[in-house]
Symmetry: C2
Subunit: 405 residues, 2 copies
């Protein structure tokens, strides 16, 4: 594939946070009515001013800077003392051992971990099972490494409560067709559904049966709402060398500004990831690594309060969305994403996303980023100021009415 | 290429900073004599405790954290206000305009910039001209993207003072053979030679003649010793869309702990780099980006003093090295690397590097990392405590005597 062709597939114009680089000339003639006043809300990512970083994180960073060279330069896979500290916590959280010497790597954000994990498992022409919808980078990563994507549908709209709706038959078909890597997020990004214990067990059994490697992005697995059970794939009965789990403190903990992630599990894959990290970015910023000391060691009650506040925002936004005729919105079980399906509109949904930004000061991520089949949905990261978020979704409701087909 | 084959070429066992992961069983039986006492010195990278980060850098970082979400989340290519600030300074430094909107990207370290720049220009099977010796990642990057490396020798040992010794005939041969990308560092890492104005002019002319893109890593171009002239490739007469310049504040400024780099020049290549950064690491850590505000704005006299201290260390180490019979050591004209060629030894040079670490507490990087033809050389980053560095090189001299063939 030529370099131009390779990069033409890597569009980022609609990626969250990149809206500032978009043109809007194409939509201006289609706009109806006047702008709607209100506090602008950028639902493309969480608002770390409304939900502040973990208490003490900056102080721990400062201590890292004061340590000097010992913290600035670490093994490429991260400082061993920090790996030892968080390894035990991650083992306790996920219910399976973590080898801090050989089975854990610190990366620049979970994006860094995902990139390295896919690079370490997918060669040109390899078949990879990818969920639709799922985090938009998954598809792009497989395409960048010239793997062949075998889509597996997540039927979250039809699934009963408590199940994600992953089409396990399609997953097995993908394995039968030769896929030896399965990449998915749990909770699912963008829908916020959590895979049931039964579903995770069956994914594990299928991966074991076909000898497939599984990369599971559990970035939001700590932000779990009341009454939801979470099952860690890595604690299931399958070869631990075939599983890589990815997490990070960038979302629930609002530590995105430090760019930290971790991948843990398969020693062979982690070894490859470190080799590649050496030429991709060397290491996660040394000083930032220190901030991991606060992870899973937040003040008593802090996480409960963070979840409670997000659940309250979630419920209020769901009430507004469900008041719009023709909108489907499943209740997210974890994380801070809503993925409402909008009714038919008189303009293309991509145009509606631009109209929302231009006329209502509301930035959302178009559903096409996550699956070719979810162009009528939009993703909202509701980790926002509560009142501003509700008002913004009320403006979205007004614009749906204005543009309804 | 299979994934296993791809990663088997990406060895990092001898990469700087990774020595901690090395075994030493193979060398133990070959060791002669007793350990040499002394303060351990790790010449694989600079000592940011001996040469501290730019004054005020931590305070500027703190201000970035206080800014909150606006600093945590930026465009993938970096915060526009910061790009505007440093764009003007980089234009003034390099003597050619910088387009801060479309021709500049902030990356996680210069390693991040190099990775993205090579990814954005080298497709499978593309021929790439690479200098030998040069920064070890250059070769690995070309190999990772399955490019074909066409080596161009840097004859720094034979070159007269004031010239790098790049074999310009070999460079033209590489272009004639189809190379359309040339990747090199100036000052050269590991030798510390600076390309002359004539050499840079001829590189520019050759690139222009063959329509080749040039990626020039100028990481150490600010640490220039007395009397040395530096010529910026991007200010020469060649299509600016064919040049990407890479710099960063991690070395001279001792800001490595923040992991910051920049690439600037070709808008087309920068656009591709941003697309890829979106799936590799999203962005340089948002808070860290704030530290770039201190770059090229250091306190009056600070850079002069930094250079003066490094020049003093350089000269003292050169005196010790040149006192060892059979050692060749060219005077570095910029940067903080020495690349002495050692005499014939009774053990392989790779074993000597391990013996140095085990018996003298001295870590150096083996010459094989930089070129297949420089296995008898070792690289020392002399940005160290002055006295400790001199003592460490004196121990190196003792060990050379002990193992001399």
């Amino acid at each position: 594939m030529s370099i131009a062709a390779k990069f033409s597939r890597l569009g980022t114009d609609n990626a969250p946070g990149q809206e500032v680089r978009q043109g809007s000339a194409d939509i201006l003639t289609l706009l109806r009515g006047e702008p709607l006043p209100g506090v602008p809300v950028d639902f493309s990512h969480g608002d770390v001013d409304a939900h502040e970083p973990t208490p003490g994180s900056f102080e721990v960073f400062s201590t890292g800077v004061a340590l000097g060279g010992a913290q600035a330069y670490t093994e490429y896979r991260g400082d061993i003392a920090i790996r030892e500290l968080i390894g035990g916590r991650l083992a306790a959280f996920t219910g399976a051992p973590v080898d801090v010497g050989d089975g854990l790597i610190v990366t620049p954000g979970t994006q860094g971990a995902l990139f390295l994990a896919v690079a370490a498992t997918v060669a040109r022409g390899d078949k990879v099972a990818v969920v639709q919808p799922d985090y938009f980078a998954n598809r792009k990563l497989v395409e960048f490494f010239e793997g062949e994507m075998l889509p597996v549908q997540l039927r979250h709209v039809e699934a009963p409560a408590g199940r994600s709706g992953l089409d396990l038959g399609e997953l097995e078909d993908a394995f039968k067709a030769g896929a030896r890597v399965f990449l998915f997020s749990n909770p699912n990004n963008p829908t916020g559904v959590v895979y049931s214990a039964d579903e995770i067990g069956r994914i594990a059994a299928l991966a074991e049966k076909y000898g497939a490697k599984v990369i599971v992005d559990q970035l939001y697995s700590r932000l779990l709402y009341a009454g939801v059970a979470y099952t860690h794939l890595r604690a299931q009965a399958l070869d631990p060398e075939n599983v890589v789990t990815i997490m990070g403190p960038s979302k629930t903990e609002s530590l995105s500004g430090y760019r930290l992630g971790v991948a843990f599990g398969s020693k062979e894959i982690v070894a490859r990831m470190e080799k590649l990290q050496a030429i991709v970015s060397l290491r996660a910023a040394g000083y930032s690594q220190a901030v991991l000391r606060t992870w899973f060691a937040e003040p008593e009650g802090w996480m409960d309060e963070r979840i409670r506040r997000h659940q309250a925002i979630r419920d209020d936004l769901l009430a507004v969305l469900r008041g719009i005729e023709g909108v489907f919105a499943r209740t997210p079980e974890a994380g801070s994403y809503l993925f409402p399906r909008l009714p038919a509109l008189a303009i293309p949904h991509a145009g509606f996303v631009k109209a929302l930004r231009l006329q209502a000061g509301v930035v959302v991520t178009p559903g096409t980023e996550f699956s070719p089949h979810t162009g009528d949905s939009v993703r909202l990261n509701f980790s926002q100021d509560h009142a501003a978020a509700v008002a913004a979704v009320e403006r979205l409701a007004l614009l749906v009415a204005r543009y309804r087909a």
